[in-house]
Structure formats: C-alpha cells, structure tokens
Assembly symmetry: C2
Homo-oligomer: 495 residues x 2
C-alpha cells in the first residue's frame, strides 16, 4: 500500500509542530523556566485530571460559582504572583472592586441615593437643599440619614454591592437572555458612574483602581472611557479635558508612589447607539484630545451592547474623517462580541480591520470569518480576549468552548483582559488569566504561553516604542523574581 | 498615509471571498435554486431576527426545550422536505423513536422486565419458566401480567420511554456532569439493546428505522453496530455473521418496497474500554467480515465515552494489523468528542488521521489542533458533525458556539448526522440539519450550504463509486422535486 500522507511514524514530529504553533510554543526557555514549567505542569495536570474525574472544573462552571474554587487553586496562586504586563481592555467605571465604592464613596458626606422603579439605584453628591429630582428615580435621600434609620446597615450595604455588580446565586435563572443581562449590566454601570463622576471620588477611585491592578501584578493599563462630565459639589461640570488631565495626574502620582508601575492610557469611547452627527462631533473631539494629550490619549472606540447598536459600517463616513484629513487617530474597536453569525453587526470585525483598527476588542466571533481572521493574523492586529466577560454576558457557558482555544492553537495574536472586573466580581487580571490558561488553553498551555500573553500585552499596547523597551525591562526583572519565588514555594520533589 | 493592506473600498470583494469559502459558497446555482434561496433567506432571516429580539432562539436553547419551537419553524418544514442524502453517523440501538419499542416490542408475548437499583430497566423474551435472573436487576416480571395489575398503563409506558431516552424537563438539574449523563446514556442504550437483541424485534426494528429515515427524506444510512449476540426465544444466540446478514436482508427488503432508497452499510464497532487482546480479536473479526460482506460492511470503529476510554494510540499495534497484512479495513473513528484539550484522549483526532481513518466521528475538538485540522482538510477526511448529540451530552450548550461554525466558514469537509436520535428525542436527520443550518451556519448559510451538506453525505459515504453515481442521480431528482414543492408552497410575493 503506497501512502503519500503522514503515518503513525510521523506522530512525534506532528505533535511538536502543533505545540510549536500554539501561543508561546516557539519561545526559547531558560533553565529556570524549565524548572518552573515542570512544577506548573504537575500542579496544572493534577487540577485538570481532578476536574475531569469529578466533573467540577472551574472554567466549565459559571464564574459566580467558580470563583471560590479558583481561589483555592495553586495554579491561580502562581498566576497572581506572575507579572502579567498590561491590561488592555478595561472600562473606566468597572475597574475597582465595588467594596471600595460602597464602603468609602457612599460614606462620604453629602451622598444622596434614589431608587429606580426596576430596583436600581443612583447616587449624587449635593450641597444640602440643592438637589434636583432625577427622572425615573425616587426622591433623593441623604445616605447618612438613611443609614441611621435602618435596622441592618450591613445588609443595606450588601444590597448596594449587588446593585453595582451582576453577581447572583443563580445567574441562569436571573438572566434569561442576553438582552436582559445587558440591561442589568448597563444599570450597574450607571449606578457606579453616578458615584465615580463626583470629582473627589473620581480621582481616588482611579488611584485605588491602579493600586488593585498593581497588587495583582499588572504593570500598566489602558482604559476605555466615555469621558462623561465630572461634577463638583457645587454643581460645576468638568469637561473631557479635565477628565483626561485627571487620569494623567492620578497616574503620575501613582507612578511617583510606585516606580515599578508603567502608567496608563485612555481610549476615548462613545456609545454605539449614537447617531451620525454625534459620532462626527466625537471624532473631532477625539482628534483634538489625541493631539493635545499624546501621552495619555491612546485613541478611539465605541461601547455598548453590540447586537443592539449600530454596526461600525453605519459610521464609515465619520470614522474615515481622520484618514481623509491625514490626522492620526488610532482605533481600538470592540467587534464581534456576538453569537449571531451573519447579522448586520457581524461584519464589525472585518470593518474594524478595514478601518485600520490597532486591536480588536473581544473579536469573539472571528473564527466564523475566515477572511477577517486571516487579515487580523497578517496585519498582526491582536484580539483582546476577556473570558469571564464573555461567560457572564452569556456568549458562552463552558470556557473550554471559548473560540480563543482555536486561536491559541494557531498562535493568533491576542492578549487577555478583564473588561469589567468589578461588575463580574473579579479583581485585576488574574481570574481571567486563570480561565484562559486552564479552560481556553487546556493542558497544552504551558509557562511559555503565560509568558507570551504577558509579552503580547506590552507589545500590542499603545505605549511608545521607548516606553515598551522600558516596560519589557521592568517586566523581565519581575519575571525573574517570579520564577525564583515559584521555585522557592514549590519543592518539586514533593509534587 | 501609505496603506499596504485592504481598505474599506475592498469590502465587497472580501465579503464575497468570505462567502465563497463558506460550505457550499462556491456552488453554481440554477434559476430555480435562486428562487428557492430567496424564499429561504426571507423566512430564515425573519426567524433569526425574531430570536435575536426575544432571546428565544432554538439553537441557543437545550434541544429538549427547543424541540417544540423547532417543529413550528417553517425553515424546519423546508428541511424536512429536503432530500438530505445520507446519515453517516448513527448507532444501531438508537435509530428509531422509542415509541415504537414501547408500544410494539414490549407488547409482544413473552416480554419480561426487571428493574435495576439505579432506576433503570432491562427486558428479555423467554419461554415461560426459562428465565434466569440477571445480575444487578430485580426478578423478571412478565410485562403482560404486570400491565394487567397496574392502575395506569399509559403512565407506565411513558416511564419506559423515559428509561429509553435522556429526555427530562430540567436537564441541567438532572445531569450535573458529563460523567453522569454518560452513565444514564449507557443505561438507556442497554435497555434498548435488551429489547432489540431479540431476533424478531431486531429485524422489525431495523425495518421501521429505515422507514423513519426514509420518511425524513434520507436516502441511505451507515450505522455503527456492536454486533452483539441476537437471541431467539429458545435462548439460541446468533453470531455476528447472522446480524450482518439480517441487516443486509432487511435493507434489501426495504429497498424492494421503496425503490427510491439507496440502502445501508454497517460499521462494526467495539467499546473503547476493551483491552488489547479483545481489540486484536475484534480487528481480525472485522477483517473477516469486511472480506465476506463487502456490500454491507463499511469498516471498523470504537464507541463509548471517549474521555473515559482508552485513547486510539493505546491500540496502535492492533489497529496497524490490517495495514501490515496488506488487508483493507476502512476506519471510521470517533475522535475528539471532548472538551478537554491536551489530555491523553485528546490526540485521538491526529491519531485517527495517522491510522488512515476514512471519516472522523464528531471531531468536536479539531479546532484546537491545527496540524490535525490541516491534515483533515488536505486528506479530505470529513467530520461527522452531530449538533444535538454534542449539546445533550454536554459538550456545548449554545449551538451558535459549536466549533463547526468555524469549520463551515472555512469550507472544511463535513457531514451532518444525528448520532442517537432516539435517545435525544429527535427523528431522522432534520432536527440536526435545522440546528446546523440555523445555529452553526447562522445567516451566512444559504440553500447552497444545504445542498453541499447533502452532496457531502453521499460523497463521503462508504458507497462504491458506482453506487454514488446512482445515489447522486436519485438525489438530484428528489432535489428538483423539492425545489418545485418549496416554490409551490411559499408564494414569494407574500413573504
Ligand atoms: Zn469592553
Ligand atoms: Zn457516535
């Protein structure tokens, strides 16, 4: 029998070839990395085999139920210690655990609350007697007074935390469709934004957020920000320039206090339900801000439920303005955050690429679009993969089925991020890295995969070339310390 | 700004290129096909948009809850009418709706039942007083007598149907892990097999099964069969040869009664928990049967829960015997029916290809294996995609996330099949075609996708070249009738 195709004898070669193409599979390794990889593989293998046997495996479970299990995992422990580089897909009102908002921001003087008919809340800080009733919300109640009157303040504060997150015991029951969960999601966002938009809270919130990422061993973040008006106690509204400068100042202050942090950049974002006129205005504003604050402004994006908004192509004229004017405005479009193949919004990935996007937010549906996938690979446009977000927002239930598994197998350019960690009950990037490493990567993902993902996050960031060099240097130092710490913690003989 | 990559001006070209590579995207179309496609797209678009709006979309729901919704769909109606070609991935004890087994087989004289401690049932036909107690089952009870004693025979018969399927109101509650549902699945299989292994039932069951597929507009089927001993009332056990001949005879009889049916072939299958000695014996038996019954025997496969069984590589010596002897024995390996990337069974797809498999059963995890995927494409080894099976057996919950969506976008060789329609409460291939067309293909899948899938099923079957020519001719005739019928049914002006 004449065989012109591979035979069992070629097995090892083919398996090495497959591993070589996997994300990080072609990275060279040091002696110490081999040692840590040996430890990591042992621990990881044990955890995966256990999950396979018991049917209880965190990435296959809803994050709200998996969180506790993840926190017990030694793999998670290692990932927390690991320097993860940059968080490139994050939103300004969901950066920091909501505990801080409830336990600090809502305890500030002059904080009022009102209740919406659908069970939501909004906050506002006023000088006494200056308050104006909000549409679709109850009368304003001074929180200080309110807390004095109620029986159980702890229970009330917990209810506020629930308002600011999507966390619930039985998410499948509570959120019966993507439309429903997006409504709740927007409501949590609006509640948080009503607190964060108060000038004193705004700056402290961002400082505390940077601290949370810093403690999670993240060296730099880029945030999508609507740049909504920030208000002072006397009602004065600050403009977008003020917000950009505030982000910049807080980041500089944080870097002064923590020299081993690389800083932050802002991607100005508008809602994808905007009309063409609003979009045109936003694009001109974005060009101006980008020109005025080259250090802090990274570029432009659109946010909101993709299925329910306008497709990118709807704004093709507005989005082409910078190119036509010869003005630089990098794009970082959310695209393909959908299960609905072939519907009007489902050309967003291709259009994002045609509009010269620098990265793709999510790109969840890219596997269903061969040409877009090939373009993204060839043009080296990375996807920002946010596993927990995709699961909680009901695109996928078992993260072993996340489309990024196929992309990892192909070494497709990608970074891991957290989208809205506060709303999902996560913290920093570690939970998402864990899901990506255990669920999406499976047993094939090794230490080099983690290293590649961290290096990618710096490489695909909006940092300047010079800043990237510095960031890599900083990261490499932390990486070496991390390797030592793992070797120190885990005696490989005992495993 | 100098652009060396595509710009928005290239959009149409790229979208056409993407559509061209989609399954069926490069097929030429007749005037009538264009007309039917116009109708189909209208109806399909309406249904998808409705699902997107309401959040109630059959492929995103569990099949047990979606079934009724599917049956109301005009798209399903069209798919039922459509000649679907061949069903290439089916198992011998789960071909025919269980109603028939309960309402006919269990009402035959001499049918006894026993109850297992875990709530299962087994059946056996004995001459009076010849029965021997089964291990792990209650005493045998004559069904005729039992039914006379109980109050509600309908309720009892319904309970038998539940025993023979996995159907339940709240599957997420009832089946908490893949291991648990596989146990229940095997139990349902064992219960059905205890009825079907009775010689008179065996033949009638198969005839009725062919009828069910025929009425679902399927022209030919290949079944995986363990070829377990069939018994006569007096206890005589028939061997594998008897079973093969019985399949052959029944199919011939059916073809005599229905000349527009193409027939059937058998893929002899053993359990993947077998040991090496048993496998060796099975391979020799398979070679002998393949040699003796070239018309009916298609080849060899392994069945059972892949995660819990031996990987293919464990049997590499046994599976290499035919090639070493220069004896032909085509393989049709189940492979990659797993969520667990990188574990020991997860090299099965690559190994199936290296062992020269003719098709791949499921291949669910192939996207996670770049080399295996490329090999399967180059060697033109089709995947047998069984959407409902993958969902019910808990590999994926929302079928819009099925990995075959990416494979369709690449025009990867595939066929659609039903695996075990009886156990899942499906009938024929139409339900799986619906899920594939609506959920996996999304709006991009058009009439040519359906045509390609039907043509694939004949092309990738084990039929001889001559038989394929006949089958295509037969199918083409039915296809033309189908087109006429759709045009006749749907007045495109009214849509
Ligand atoms: Zn986002
Ligand atoms: Zn099967």
């Amino acid at each position: 029998v004449c065989q012109t195709f591979p035979t069992p004898a070629d097995r090892d070669t083919l398996m090495i070839l497959e591993q070589f193409q996997f994300t990080g599979g072609n990275l060279l390794t040091t002696e110490k990395e081999l040692q840590v990889n040996y430890i990591l593989k042992k621990i990881k293998g044990k955890e995966i085999m256990e999950g396979m046997k018991t049917g209880k495996f965190a990435p296959a479970m809803h994050f709200f139920r998996a969180k506790e299990l993840i926190e017990q995992s030694p793999v998670f422990n290692i990932i927390q210690m690991m320097p993860k580089g940059a968080g490139l897909h994050l939103h300004e009102y969901a950066l920091l655990s909501v505990d801080w908002l409830v336990k600090n921001a809502t305890y500030l003087p002059n904080c009022y609350i009102c209740f919406t008919p659908v069970g939501g809340v909004r906050f506002h800080y006023f000088h006494r007697m200056q308050q104006r009733k909000m549409v679709n919300c109850s009368e304003w109640v001074l929180l200080e007074q309110y807390r004095r009157q109620i029986q159980n303040v702890t229970e009330f504060d917990n209810s506020l935390m629930r308002n600011l997150t999507l966390i619930t015991e039985n998410p499948e029951e509570a959120y019966q469709s993507q439309n429903i969960i997006w409504q709740r999601f927007s409501d949590a966002f609006a509640a948080a934004s009503s607190l964060i938009s108060y000038a004193p809270v705004f700056k402290t919130y961002f400082y505390e957020a940077l601290k949370e990422f810093y403690h999670d061993n993240v060296q730099y973040i880029e945030i999508r920000a609507l740049l909504l008006p920030v208000y002072e106690l006397d009602g004065t509204l600050q403009n977008k320039t003020w917000s950009i400068m505030a982000y910049h100042e807080v980041a500089r202050q944080f870097k002064d206090d923590h020299p081993d942090f690389m800083g932050t950049k802002v991607i100005f974002s508008v809602h994808r339900k905007s009309n063409n006129t609003e979009m045109k205005t936003a694009i001109y504003e974005a060009m101006e801000l980008y020109n005025k604050f080259p250090e802090t402004m990274a570029g432009f994006d659109m946010v909101g439920h993709e299925d329910a908004g306008h497709p990118l192509w709807y704004f093709r004229n507005e989005l082409s303005i910078p190119a036509k004017l010869g003005v630089k405005l990098p794009y970082f479009f959310h695209a393909g955050e959908t299960d609905w193949e072939g519907v009007h919004v489902d050309e967003n990935i291709l259009d994002a690429l045609l509009l010269n996007t620098s990265r793709i937010g999510h790109g969840y549906s890219i596997n269903k679009h061969l040409v877009a996938k090939q373009l993204s690979q060839k043009l080296d446009v990375a996807l920002e993969v946010c596993p927990i977000s995709n699961q909680v927002l009901m695109l996928v239930s078992n993260l072993q089925n996340h489309p990024a598994a196929a992309l990892m197998a192909e070494g497709h350019p990608m970074v891991i991020s957290a989208d809205d960690p506060a709303v999902f009950g996560a913290r920093g990037l570690s939970y998402d890295f864990y899901e990506a490493f255990m669920g999406i990567g499976g047993l094939k993902a090794e230490l080099t995969t983690l290293r590649q993902l961290a290096l990618n996050s710096i490489n695909y960031s909006a940092m300047s070339a010079q800043m990237k060099v510095e960031a890599i240097k900083l990261w490499q130092k932390k990486w070496d310390q991390f390797l030592d710490a793992v070797v120190h913690m885990f005696n490989s003989d005992e495993l």
